[in-house]
């Protein structure tokens, strides 16, 4: 007779081994090592909560300090590799296999460890893919998560950086795994319950509050005039024309410039209330002036941003906040909103090839994908219509005889040359060589050309929806590639023809006076201006204060 509850019994055995260490659900920080040794078994799948922002840093240190003779061959399944400890576990032989989404800060070291054979990578996922795999074949046996506070019953209060915690805990708990939370404080009653206590096995008050990375703060002082010019083109040539109202922005200075031009340039064009009303976006400080100017009706966020807490608390009509007043973020749900509910994604990239594929991969670094591929992809399962989606779909299909359908706007916004005169347009992405060196199945393309609707550079906008055929598409891309080798190799007559047909549009074609493209057009030119715009509610991290 087959056993049908082996995981439950295994869980009970683990809990029994840990029982001497606990008082209720509370374990002392000094006993954290003993707790992990008690509950972990070699080969376990472990989710060590590494988010974009909030980090289970205390538990990461404890895990990385375990004895590899006792705990080894762990399979780490976590969305972000942010801390050194996230890779220390591989270097020390505690873990051997990795599934992840993003490793920006550790990308170089990850490439070295992989080359040295110290770990194998199952796959590099997008957030939604990895979360999906949590509920299929990559369910964590042990989850090590972080929260702001816990009560004795194990109820967790995450504060504004809820991020991945709900999805991790749900997958682990309901497949009979074990959930351990590090918290900044133990309280009698949590301000709100973000994770029900019944889903949490152990809580540990960490010696120090968990680390939070301010990832989405862009100092307006660093926005260039070229970025202002490109932002003007995006607002007038795309947002206004397609009536874009549900959208997601990438995290660079290019898109920060758009946010800061809404109260000035877009206002002057009479676009308030007509564009940019609903956002799937982290609470970018650069969005404050647009919120204050009445452009923004709602913002749902993947995670929070340091310093924005009081501002968010004071704007509950705009942000998603709990009964305690603080924001509730949720990466999985915001990714779903970004993929299915948004009509537009716009972001920067490092390289674009002749078919519009883009990649941020660089040699010697394995940075992963994060959420951009889900934001920056046409949602082929989408069925609800909007004016934006319908117009894009019409442009892509007019005259083709194809069944009518809508399409998402996916916009890539780049200056043709990056720093040190590195061309953003290339014949072949570095991703190909990276894939070969690292033994990947496919080159790590961030956004596929077939999903890209527009490319915006300082030279103009290329509307790829209107292109018919590969040749036209290539010339449209060359036609905005400026003085890069790709741009200089354009067929000038073909490009002028595309311009006549409105497939390529220069600033002057859009009625944009380049002389206006100055930093004076930014609604905030410094971080201090952002603080002022927030009525003093925005409290920027120290590194962004220079006054």
């Amino acid at each position: 007779m087959r056993d049908w509850d082996t995981t439950t019994r295994n869980r009970d055995q683990r809990l029994a081994r840990a029982a001497p260490l606990t008082r209720g659900k509370v374990v002392q920080a000094d006993d954290a090592t003993a707790l992990l040794e008690a509950v972990l078994e070699p080969g376990d799948r472990v989710c060590l909560e590494g988010n974009n922002q909030k980090q289970a840093d205390f538990l990461a240190k404890v895990l990385a300090g375990l004895d590899p003779a006792q705990v080894h061959d762990l399979h780490m399944v976590q969305s972000v590799l942010a801390l050194p400890e996230h890779l220390d576990v591989f270097e020390k032989g505690i873990a051997s296999k990795l599934d992840f989404s993003f490793s920006g800060p550790q990308a170089g070291r990850l490439a070295k460890l992989l080359a040295g054979g110290q770990l194998s990578i199952g796959a590099i996922h997008t957030y939604l893919e990895l979360f999906g795999r949590y509920f299929t074949d990559l369910t964590p046996r042990i989850a090590l998560v972080a929260a702001q506070a816990a009560d004795a019953a194990g109820n967790l209060y995450t504060g504004p950086n809820t991020e991945d915690t709900p999805v991790i805990v749900e997958a682990t708990c309901f497949k009979r795994g074990i959930v351990i939370a590090q918290v900044n404080e133990l309280v009698d009653q949590v301000p709100r319950v973000d994770i029900p206590g019944g889903w949490v096995d152990f809580v540990i008050q960490s010696p120090k509050p968990h680390y939070i990375e301010p990832l989405f703060t862009r100092d307006p002082a660093q926005i260039s005039e070229i970025q202002v010019l490109m932002a003007m083109m995006v607002i007038k040539g795309i947002y206004a024309e397609y009536e874009v109202n549900r959208l997601n922005h990438g995290i660079g200075f290019d898109t920060a410039a758009i946010e800061l031009l809404l109260p000035t340039y877009a206002e002057r064009l009479g676009l308030r209330g007509k564009i940019c009303r609903h956002w799937a976006l982290n609470p970018h400080p650069a969005l404050i002036p647009a919120i204050e100017a009445g452009f923004v009706q709602s913002v749902h966020s993947f995670g929070s941003e340091l310093g924005m807490e009081d501002y968010i608390r004071a704007r509950p009509d705009v942000f998603f906040t709990g009964p305690d007043g603080s924001m509730r973020s949720n990466r999985a749900l915001c990714q779903a909103a970004g993929h299915y509910a948004c009509d537009l994604f716009i972001g920067s990239t490092l390289q674009i090839d002749l078919t519009g594929n883009s990649s941020t991969a660089t040699l010697g670094r394995i940075a992963g994908f994060g959420g951009a591929p889900n934001m920056g992809a046409d949602a082929r399962g989408r069925r609800h219509a909007s004016p934006t989606w319908l117009k894009a779909g019409r442009e892509a299909r007019d005259g083709s005889g194809l069944t009518p359908r809508g399409q998402k706007l996916v916009v890539q916004m780049v200056e043709t040359f990056r720093e040190h005169m590195q061309p953003a347009f290339v014949e072949k992405l570095d991703a190909w060589e990276l894939a070969e060196n690292a033994g990947m199945d496919l080159p790590p393309v961030m956004i596929y050309g077939e999903d890209v609707s527009h490319i915006v550079t300082e030279e103009g906008i290329a509307n790829l929806l209107l292109c018919r055929g590969e040749e036209e598409r290539e010339q449209a891309i060359r036609g905005v590639a400026g003085y890069t080798p790709v741009g200089l190799a354009r067929d000038r007559r073909a490009v002028e023809n595309l311009r006549d047909r409105g497939i390529i549009r220069r600033p002057e074609d859009l009625g944009i006076d380049k002389r206006e493209a100055t930093r004076d057009l930014l609604a905030a030119r410094t971080v201090k201006d952002l603080v002022r715009a927030s009525g003093g509610l925005y409290d920027p991290p120290k590194r962004f204060r220079n006054w």
Partner: protein, 107 residues
């Protein structure tokens, strides 16, 4: 921003004898300085580029070819002091300097 021009002759101020130069771009807040001046070059125009980066002559050539194709100015001297600006910045600043020059005043 304001640019003031003062001309003197024999110790006394005189009205500017020609259109004042337009100065657009300030090193320190950016990485490029462009100066456009009226200059009798018998109908020709000249661009003097001082640049921190070597090996980009073909790109300068392409940027300037396009600029002269757009504006076709004569009898002007353009002085460029470049500290690693991208071609996008060069084009934008040249256009801005030229527009300001045509408007006959400072930017």
């Amino acid at each position: 921003m304001e640019t003031l021009v003062f001309d003197y002759r024999d110790g006394k101020p005189v009205p500017a004898s020609n259109r004042p130069p337009a100065l657009v771009g300030v090193v320190g807040s950016g990485n490029l300085e462009v100066l456009v001046e009226a200059h009798d070059l018998s109908g020709a125009a000249r661009v003097e580029v001082v640049t921190a980066a070597t090996g980009f002559r073909p790109i300068w050539q392409a940027v300037l070819d396009d600029f002269f194709n757009r504006h076709a100015p004569s009898n002007i001297l353009i002085s460029i002091n470049d500290v690693g600006a991208t071609p996008a910045v060069v084009s934008l600043r040249l256009d801005q300097a030229m527009e300001a020059f045509k408007a006959g005043g400072a930017a």
